[in-house]
Symmetry: C2
Subunit: 147 residues, 2 copies
DNA sequence: TACAAGATTTGGATAGACCCCAAAAAATGG
DNA sequence: CCATTTTTTGGGGTCTATCCAAATCTTGTA
């Protein structure tokens, strides 16, 4: 089993997945297009790629919703954003700055790095733009896992 | 005067500028091509863009060297890399990991953020992959500058 | 229920960043 | 002064992200 580095999605796709997750349920193309000020046709195309990747289920003309995989991944994406934002705040940035900066580069930070930072910070529950949740995956390294 | 956010160069160009700076003096196309395992023609093209941006002086068939601007910028790029790597180490990553992760996303971190982190860490001199130098630009915020 | 209006998708294009290959051009050491 | 090496040119490619216009699907409603 490959380590799952968490770098499979481009920055844009990460934003879309997080948006769909946070909106919840079935999300319509226009909703995403409006939220990101992008042409609906662009969204349709990107959605097709996300569907091909198994992250979402897309019913043409009706909207998309996350698959089981997509949901699990979305949780990671959001946690990554919050952990990184929190780290930045704890290292001198203002909350809004931290959130903004993290959004810019988070898609390039590996899961392993996020887990280490999360561990180092003591698995904080309170992020600066929402609560942080911790699954086994992130806690299991605690009890002497391999890597 | 615009704030100079430090996001003008792509990740690849950042690597090239840092490499040229660290190599010092006049650097030849092949040297860069070899260092990054990329076709020389690709380097020539990217070099043309960096020259157009005023970062380097390119004498065809002879090599490139940084301009005054390029040198100043290179110093920032290297400092950014070291500050971010150091922050990651201080937040739980192993040195090599930190360096590798920082290289991936550093091009997307603003100068302002770097300055804040640098300030927060107390303007450290010892990075994990080299010494960190601090210019006025980064220290002046200390004595109550505007932003 | 048929249709107009609105939402969505298709198809066609563009743009930027990177990259490669083959061939031309320049530099250089004998 | 020429063969070898280095570099540049010219021509393609891929990928991601976007836009526009035209087709297509849904739906509320008359």
């Amino acid at each position: 089993m490959e380590p799952e580095c968490g770098l499979a999605l481009s920055a844009r796709k990460v934003e879309y997945i997080k948006f769909i997750f946070e909106t919840g349920g079935t999300v319509r193309t226009t909703m995403i297009a409006t939220a990101f000020s992008v042409d609906p046709s662009t969204i349709t195309k990107t959605l097709a790629e996300l569907a091909a990747g198994g992250y979402i289920r897309h019913v043409p003309y009706h909207g998309v919703c996350l698959t089981e995989t997509g949901e699990r991944h979305a949780e990671f994406l959001i946690k990554r954003h919050r952990i990184l934002s929190l780290m930045l705040v704890r290292n001198g940035l203002l909350p809004e700055e931290a959130c903004r900066e993290a959004s810019q580069f988070e898609s390039l930070v590996s899961k392993k790095a996020v887990d280490r930072i999360c561990h180092f910070m003591g698995h904080p529950r309170q992020g600066i733009c929402g609560e942080i949740t911790h699954d086994n995956d992130c806690l299991e390294r605690e009890e002497g896992a391999s890597s």
